[in-house]
Symmetry: C2
Subunit: 144 residues, 2 copies
DNA sequence: TTTTTTTAGTTGCTAAAGCAACTATTGCTA
DNA sequence: TAGCAATAGTTGCTTTAGCAACTAAAAAAA
């Protein structure tokens, strides 16, 4: 790998792309008055998928810091989209679950998300997707 | 493009990878007592490259919000790495420049950054790099 | 059983992202 | 030339990121 190659700012390109996607998602949510942020959506999506899960587990599957999860969940509880329920067996643990309102929010927002993902992938093939996944995975695992 | 494909959370993978890189960079900066954040570094890198530039231009080349740039620059000014200098021709404009200390910081940190980039790319080829760049560019330009 | 360590979660702090509203110029136009 | 629009930046606000320090409970070790 050449020096000019290494000096190439791929970090920057990742960052710029992600910011652009995030921005687009947020603007779309806002335009449709979904009253939700992108990261709040990510948590809702995972809560829908996992049904019952702790802060810690949710942090792992979303690649978020547990403190960040804790605070986003607080906002979702305030919006009555999520309930916290202490575990009877282990009183340190708190299980998180979507409320009925939370499930409805998921079903309400999901079509928008699918549409946006489709938009992002326009002109790309499934093999492009595999390539991207492969390369990002390698980079991810290269980091000590 | 199939539905399962579209539903695949590539956004999440981008986010996770970027967070991991950012985290690694920050920890490395801290371990070497560079007293700098990743985004502060990005601005310094661009100030070194462009020599004399306004907030607005710096925001464009770094894909950052101008308010964000404004505040990061404030921190860099406090650290005496950057000076603001009003334009005599247009009193709205403020030119930004690295101080001598700022240039030194750049030269001091740059080897670390090159090393980390190399680490991230271990096991990948230049064609992987082109692929990643191409795919990210397509996605970026797909976003309305 | 008592002490120590580990685990789950919260709170305080600083940094960065981005929108809205604001000031101060400069440029355009009627 | 006077009035209005556009441009450059800053400040206030809410959200997310992540480290450090903390509480409380459970698990492991003495």
């Amino acid at each position: 790998m050449t020096d000019t190659f290494v000096s190439n700012p791929s970090f920057f390109k990742l960052d710029a792309t992600l910011k652009r996607i995030r921005n687009y998602w947020q603007k779309t949510f806002d335009a449709h008055k979904k009253d939700i942020t992108v990261d709040q959506w990510l948590l809702i999506e995972n809560l829908y998928k996992h049904k019952k899960i702790t802060h810690n587990e949710l942090a792992k599957v979303t690649s978020k810091d547990i403190t960040t999860v804790s605070r986003i969940i607080e906002l979702l509880v305030k919006k009555e989209l999520v309930v916290r329920e202490g575990s009877p067996h282990d009183r340190r643990k708190v299980f998180l679950q979507l409320t009925a309102k939370g499930s409805e929010k998921y079903k309400d927002v999901r079509p928008l998300v699918l549409e946006m993902r489709k938009t992002g992938w326009t002109g790309l093939t499934e093999s492009d997707y595999s390539e991207l996944t492969r390369i990002l995975d390698v980079i991810y695992n290269n980091i000590p």
